[in-house]
Point group: C2
Chain length 319, copies 2
């Protein structure tokens, strides 16, 4: 199978077609029609075997996740997703692997109506994936990291730390029951980008970020870009029943600093709290964890009101 | 140096600012304003150490080339370049290497007014670069691979095969004088994307492609997508003086099938030949190499009018 057959067989017959794709896979570049009056939102993430995922990962989970982490960035901007490009470098053409990879990737693409419009394939010593995702947001409506103000309430969607539990299990550092493992593995392998939440939060949140590097690091980005500080209470962190059952063993740091959660962390000005209340019937999964304050830096308080210092500060590839 | 310092130090102070970048590096995604009435042109290429370039390559040349190959794809569509994103995976943070890499990349970006608006960095066992470039083209004006018709004349910009000569030298398979090496190494290390030619050819050419995989493969893509055949004459291939001096040793195949030339191959309908003549004062470097015919496939003829069959068909990572 050569490079062109590979593209034809696996990538050029993907399930999503969109009228705004004038020319997709198969030329020197894709031709796309962004909607008038909207800003284009563009993000990219690279995943390397042995760095971002274990070499024996289920390829369907990998295909899902490689796209999901990019859609999660769009969600954090309040963007509506539209198109993506795929760079895929592989040690060899393993057709069973590719079939599963595409299954996972295109299933998620289909769910959100995102079309694969281009990319590149290559040989490499280890599997490497770089996806770039495009979306739209009405002019001036994007959620950035820079809008948090003192007095804003801080929220997180879903729960934190379950992906960390699954990773700890796979690295043989934690025991889980099969039922527990099933639940948390889903969080690690198939994170669901919070795209609907992002759209709704456009008119409610003052800032947002997705929790990919861990809450401490990612909320830290909001604080830095917004020029504010914050206080967060450990007891308010949204933890799953499974995490709570293992809290004594694993402590708070998987929830605070492991990352890979792909939940949204966002801030809401007091004036918008009634609007947030209204959407909670649709999105009950949003927990208030603290407040934005003047000053700088993040202070975390335990149940006794004492300052808590997490051991790890978040994921950093070059530290 | 951590990941965020690395981005701040090397990538967030790049030389190009554009009014159509609402938000660049530093958030979950970039916010961009495509011009109304134009199509967005998007392309991406991945380069892996040991596959696309030698591990001891000059990092400035690599920075240049990683961006150049993407701009070359935009040129082949007749697009005006605007923005790019950079995925960069490295075994370690080598500051001297990064400084040189950025020098090469940003020099080219500056020359064409292209702004770096986002990206991702990671650790990886070997240097891996995936760049994604964005440009614009007025609706309906893009040069695709699908427009060639029987009777169209086939042209190539610049000369073919010099990058192949340089590679052969570096692999110890060819001797060159220092002066020769200097000239051909420039073609391999610092290909100049034919962006101006692409813009002008919008109203002249019926199809275009950039010669990245070799003329035989790339012209082959035009023939396949256009549903036509072609004849090309060896004696008309644009070869440099240096290539001609080594023609007896290296034969025609470096010019036909090595790739890495990043010239444009394009077709011109007879009615547009006068328009092509007019631009030749600005772009004298365009050689007619053959004709589009009905049928399918590429036939190459030598000086005696005999069919010539190249030994290699072009670059393919998975063959």
């Amino acid at each position: 199978m050569n490079e062109f057959e590979l593209i034809r067989t696996y990538f050029a017959r993907e399930p999503v077609t969109r009228p705004d794709v004038a020319l997709g896979i198969g030329d020197d570049a894709a031709l796309l029609r962004p909607p008038p009056g909207q800003q284009l939102v563009v993000t990219t993430d690279i995943l390397v075997s042995g760095v971002h995922f274990l070499p024996d990962v289920d390829p369907a989970a990998l295909g899902h996740k490689a796209l999901a982490v990019n859609l999660s960035d769009l969600a954090a901007m309040g963007a509506e997703p539209a198109w993506f490009l795929l760079n895929l470098a592989l040690p060899e053409v393993d057709q069973a692997w590719l079939t599963r990879f595409c299954q996972g990737m295109f299933e998620l693409a289909h769910r959100h109506g995102v079309a694969l419009v281009g990319g590149d394939t290559s040989r490499a010593p280890q599997v490497t994936i770089a996806i770039e995702a495009h979306g739209f947001v009405p002019d001036g409506k994007a959620l950035t990291r820079a809008g948090a103000r003192p007095g804003d309430h801080i929220y997180v969607t879903g729960s934190l730390g379950d992906a960390g539990l699954a990773l700890k299990y796979r690295l043989d550092k934690l025991k889980l029951t099969p039922v527990e493992l099933n639940a948390v593995a889903e969080c690690l392998d198939r994170p669901q980008p919070r795209l609907e939440e992002g759209l709704v939060l456009r008119d409610i949140a003052s800032s947002a970020i997705d929790v990919s590097d861990g809450l401490v690091a990612d909320l830290g980005h909001i604080l830095e870009r917004s020029g504010v500080g914050a206080r967060v209470e450990l007891k308010r962190l949204p933890l799953s029943v499974i995490y709570r059952a293992h809290l004594k063993d694993v402590g708070w740091d998987l929830a605070l600093a492991n990352g890979d959660d792909y939940e949204l962390c966002f801030t809401v000005p007091p004036a918008n709290l009634p609007a947030l209340e209204k959407i909670k019937s649709r999105f009950p999964d949003m927990a208030e964890i603290g407040m934005i304050e003047s000053g700088s830096g993040l202070r975390i308080f335990d149940a006794d009101g004492k300052l808590y210092a997490p051991k790890a500060a978040g994921h950093d590839h070059f530290r």
